[in-house]
Symmetry: C2
Subunit: 102 residues, 2 copies
Amino acid sequence: MEQPGHLPTLAFLAKSLADENRLRILLSLGNGKKSVSAIVQELQLSQPLVSHHLKELRRSLLVRVERQGPFIYYEMSDPRIVEILKALDNLATGLLAARTTF
Amino acid sequence: MEQPGHLPTLAFLAKSLADENRLRILLSLGNGKKSVSAIVQELQLSQPLVSHHLKELRRSLLVRVERQGPFIYYEMSDPRIVEILKALDNLATGLLAARTTF
DNA sequence: TCAATATATCAATGTTTATTTATATATTTA
DNA sequence: TAAATATATAAATAAACATTGATATATTGA
């Protein structure tokens, strides 16, 4: 069986996905590019908080950035991200189901 | 496009995967069940640290537990876990490659 | 029952992280 | 150039988290 590679990188990526608000932002960006203020409005989060989370998402390369005048647009950088989140979701569901059947 | 479900659960699972030593322990347990002391020896980590991480892995249902006399054996609870970690690994590799090609 | 072995837990410590409030920076228009 | 808009950043704060050294708990055999 082949093992996953660089563990620090894996841990770093997982950490980037380990906050609910950040996940909400990331998933919102899976629906196409959005400006910071649009995210702020849509998710009812504070602007500095959104900026902070976007900065983390930039660091982990999970988002792409594009400036247009005063607006900065962000979008999810890779469709595999949603697939992985779905797989995690299925895993969680499965683990919970298996636990309650004991 | 269908969105992943319960975000707090997703964040919780991601957090459980967000530490390198914990990943090392989890992956080691993907090769069959092991006692705490075996993990301690194999990974050269302190016993309390291993116990602490195992406790977190138990909480997130990522491991199964079985006692035999003084020994407690742990193993990975679901093969999907490794698949997800591999997918994350591939994602990381891909994102890094895409960045360096800009 | 006691001693030995295995492992969980406790307490302390330092580091990391999310959030808020305030301010700095960047872009555009009048 | 100044004002308005968009957004990044700074600083403070509280909470969460990983690790270590010490101790408590569980199991077994003599």
